[in-house]
């Protein structure tokens, strides 16, 4: 790779998840519904964070693994971008906690972006801007979530797909091929995937926001827990994501057949397969890595890549495609052939100290 190049590249990727699996058959949901849902989602077991663990813990664990594998001195990191909807504190964000936990110097740009499932592409994009502007040399992107903790155990729409975990990647200059992006966002769709109470708009109020109610489909939740309208999410994804993928392919001048790997946000097996069908893609090129983990949010595409590291060699023309709360979506076409994919690590201890 050329050291003169200012083109941003992803040099390494890592993911970390809770060490214990949770069997969805243990949920307080009838067997018929459990089995019917699992057949569609492909998810039988998930990783769920214990109450004391945060997304930042898993991201830090992933970053440590990445630094070890690539022999990177944390003192060379001069930018951190953290993306999570569930930080350790209401303010400030997690990026500073990640900085101190990893021994990254104080002369550093740190920022937090409140994106969830689409986070990883926003993270790579922001890090690339920092590198290509000349402001930073080595930017650590962390993306994770502990959403599964914020869901009602009797809300099968969410509880049967969501898992927890984090990811980390490093963006530097020296790339060969400029990365190409396509974004879409519909803020009017916020109400289809969000947590109503707990922010400034609807403060937590005991006896009001913590009262369970049951919807028409039999899902139970309070206003303090996550809500999803699965039908609206599916509509957004099926309408908006195929054109995003087409756009990044056109920007790179790649045909669908030339692409070696399509990495969709691992929402569930059915959603990935529906996109593959709608776009007439090769099933072999589109990875599905959901069982045993669940949808871990923004880090899911990186987790899938790390899990497939030994089974795939075609990373030169890779398309990432993420979507989720917002409603938000993004696609990225880039060369990942020189990228190091770490073995997935498991984490059971708190990584941040205040």
């Amino acid at each position: 790779m050329s050291i003169d190049s200012k083109i941003a590249q992803v040099v390494g990727v890592a993911a970390s998840v809770p060490d214990k699996q949770f069997d969805l058959m243990d949920l307080d949901i009838d067997d018929y519904t459990l089995k019917r849902t699992m057949k569609l989602t492909g998810i039988h077991k998930i990783r769920q964070a214990p109450p004391e663990m945060s997304a930042a813990d898993y991201c830090i664990d992933a970053a440590k693994k990445l630094f070890r594998d690539l022999s990177i001195d944390p003192k060379t990191i001069d930018g951190i971008v953290m993306l999570t909807p569930h930080p350790n504190y209401i303010y400030p964000g997690d990026s500073g906690l990640i900085q101190s936990a990893l021994g990254i110097p104080t002369k550093c740009i740190v920022m937090d972006i409140n994106h969830s499932c689409t986070g990883v592409i926003y993270g790579i994009f922001t890090a690339s801007l920092l590198v290509e502007s000349g402001q930073c040399q080595n930017v650590l992107v962390c993306c994770g979530d502990t959403a599964a903790k914020h869901m009602n155990p009797r809300d099968r729409a969410l509880k049967m797909v969501a898992g927890d975990g984090g990811s980390a990647l490093l963006v530097t200059a020296g790339g060969k091929l400029p990365m190409k992006y396509s974004f879409v966002h519909d803020g009017s769709g916020l109400k289809y995937l969000y947590t109503p109470a707990g922010g400034e708009r609807m403060p937590i109020q005991p006896g009001v926001t913590d009262i369970e109610s049951t919807d028409a489909e039999g899902n139970v939740r309070t206003l303090e827990e996550e809500f999803m309208d699965g039908l609206e999410v599916m509509r957004f994804v099926m309408n908006e994501m195929p054109p995003r993928v087409d756009e990044v392919l056109a920007q790179q001048g790649w045909s669908k057949d030339e692409v070696g790997a399509f990495v969709f946000h691992q929402a569930n097996e059915f959603m990935v397969k529906s996109l593959v069908r709608a776009m007439k893609l090769s099933k072999k090129k589109a990875m599905v890595q959901v069982d045993g983990y669940g949808n871990i949010g923004g880090g899911s595409v990186l987790l899938a890549m790390c899990l497939e590291r030994e089974h795939r060699s075609e990373w030169q023309k890779t398309v990432l495609c993420s979507f989720g709360t917002g409603m938000s979506g993004a696609a990225l076409a880039a060369d990942f052939s020189e990228t190091h994919f770490c073995e997935v690590s498991e984490c059971s201890t708190v990584q941040v100290e205040v």
């Binding site: 569609l40 729409a157 489909e217 699965g230 039908l231 599916m234 509509r235 309408n239 069908r277 709608a278």
Partner: protein, 74 residues
């Protein structure tokens, strides 16, 4: 899409063994639930002429209503 092919596809989408005809009332099919709504919408996105809206899926009463949604004839 022919009606026969549509009925076969709907049995697959709903994962049901119930006897289906164009006049089958959806609420009589046990498997016509939120999972089937999503599966139908995803299928519709790949073949329908017009965009299918969630409210239209929920409002459908018979299989013929769903067929009309796919064929762009509400």
């Amino acid at each position: 899409m022919q009606e026969k092919d549509f009925l076969e596809k709907m049995a697959e989408i709903m994962d049901t063994e119930a006897e289906l005809s164009m006049d089958t009332v959806l609420k009589d099919v046990e498997e016509w639930d939120s999972l089937s709504y999503v599966a139908f919408l995803a299928f519709g996105a790949t073949i329908a002429k017009e965009k299918i809206w969630p409210a239209d899926v929920k409002a459908a009463e018979t299989l013929r209503d769903l067929y009309n949604l796919l064929m762009g004839d509400k």
